[in-house]
Subunit: 302 residues, 2 copies
């Protein structure tokens, strides 16, 4: 028996997803606990922001849930070519984790659902990995997990969404990808995909639920690797690039800041500390140089 999920079903699923991911991350970290802030949006809806800091493995990380509604913002009406007032409902879970160690990668995950009073609705989301130092084995394994998850739902999802991530998580002004990519998808609608709403929701659930097993495994695998001062310094520089991507290019961040979203929740993605050195150059033959050479589109990791 299949049932068409309502926005309430999706919202309540995302809340439970936030709960389970927070539990998994706390367990994996072993020290820090999430601090919760409940917030309300004057125009409708609100959220449950959960942030942890100064953990054994996680230096600063957020797992944010929100469900907001109201009149669609003027900017969004314009970008969609809509001329009449429309109400929207949007709900999602967003995650960014900045680890203490340069040997543990930064990760980002987002799953979201959007619907409008004119009947249109779609799902979006993605996961991408930003190692401070690219470890081929980890990048391959990470992509393989995403490929497996995608293939349970549709053969072309992984190649399509992997390319989309390569193009989306790209610092054009640096001509480099944010990290080793992952998957990114948006505007998943029944008509364009040939899937029912329930099937699309099941795919988004699959991605949401793949986050904790993937990241806790990468945490456990890399947490005890020793690192040098020099590697810590390189981590701070890579975090600088992460800041640049999020503030200059990330659509969600820009849209949130422009439309009076909750700034502290949006900018939970900022690292605890970041560094900029003018015209920094890696040493020839170094691990840093190797990592930079792998920050490009089109690498077939899986």
């Amino acid at each position: 028996m299949t049932t068409t999920p309502t926005k309430e079903d999706i919202q309540s699923y995302f809340e439970s997803l936030q709960d389970s991911i927070c539990k998994s991350l706390e367990k994996a970290d072993g020290k820090a606990k999430f601090h919760e802030d409940l917030w309300q949006r004057p125009e409708g809806g609100g959220g449950r922001s959960r942030v942890m800091a100064d953990g054994k493995i996680i230096e600063k990380g957020g797992v944010m849930f929100s469900a907001v509604w109201g009149d669609l913002h003027e900017k969004m009406l314009q970008s969609m070519g809509l001329t009449e007032k429309v109400q929207f409902f949007a709900t999602g879970v967003s995650i960014v984790q900045h680890p203490v160690s340069p040997k543990v990668p930064i990760i980002h995950m987002n799953v979201r659902y959007f619907e409008m009073s004119n009947g249109a609705f779609w799902f979006g989301g993605g996961i991408d990995l930003t190692p401070h130092y690219v470890v081929d084995e980890d990048a391959k394994w990470f992509h393989q997990q995403l490929k497996n998850a995608c293939e349970k739902h549709e053969a072309n999802y992984y190649p399509k969404f992997k390319d989309w991530a390569d193009n989306y998580f790209f610092n054009t002004h640096r001509n480099e990808t944010r990290g080793v990519g992952g998957i990114f998808f948006d505007y998943l609608k029944p008509k364009e995909t040939g899937k029912t709403k329930e099937q699309l929701f099941n795919f988004v659930k699959e991605i949401g639920e793949s986050f904790a097993p993937i990241y806790t495994k990468l945490m456990a695998k890399n947490k005890n690797i020793e690192f040098s001062e020099n590697e810590k310094e390189f981590q701070l520089l890579r975090r600088g690039r992460y800041v640049e991507f999020n503030l200059v290019h990330d659509r969600g961040t820009k849209f949130g800041l422009e439309t009076n979203g909750r700034t502290e929740s949006i900018l939970m993605s900022m690292p605890p500390m970041a560094r900029w050195i003018y015209d920094y150059k890696t040493e020839a033959g170094s691990e840093e140089e190797r990592t930079l050479s792998l920050l490009k589109k089109g690498i077939n990791w899986a």
Copy 2:
């Protein structure tokens, strides 16, 4: 005898301004020297980037000169409502200084000249001060210097350009000004101002030459003030806001990054290190709280 300055005159003046400011800053710092990079722009022109790091007073600072030309970028044609291809010439000096001590303010200065093959030309620029801790005496003195400089040229310049700076150097998503403001001006043309090109150039020279005396005085006055770990931490948080302003709102930065400008020169404005704490709150009655209360528009400092 008056002469109408050519673009070559203006460019050569800006080069000499960069020279004299670098000399003054090196002398005031007493330790660090500027490192120079010459760069060329494939489409026409280039620049002379000068950056100093790890000084006694300046932790990271840039004094950048550039003179570039070519076809006006599609984005700029659009924003100006132009439909035909136009050639442009742009030259200017841009400065940002990030001091070691939280007791020494961050400063920014820019002077620029722009002309197009259709005959239009204008001057722009500004200076603004971003203290990590607002010191009323310094803010007043700073604004008084700018007021004096403006009043040599036109009675309404200071109030007009001071308001413009309040509105421009504003982090809308934080609802706070970047610092204590200063002056900002753009599109200064003979027709709109009732001034000759030479008079406008003289005003821009006045502002350019006011930079070194102003900032070296603030450096000398504050460099030996002791500071705590807590104050250093607050400086890192304030630098985070500086990053946010430059990457999210600053028009020059956005335009440069979008139009394939030299990224390292544009992002010399980034601090050497910056920090983000989720939902940071100042203590009631603290100096930090006082500073935040003064980061608003419309304070009559002069």
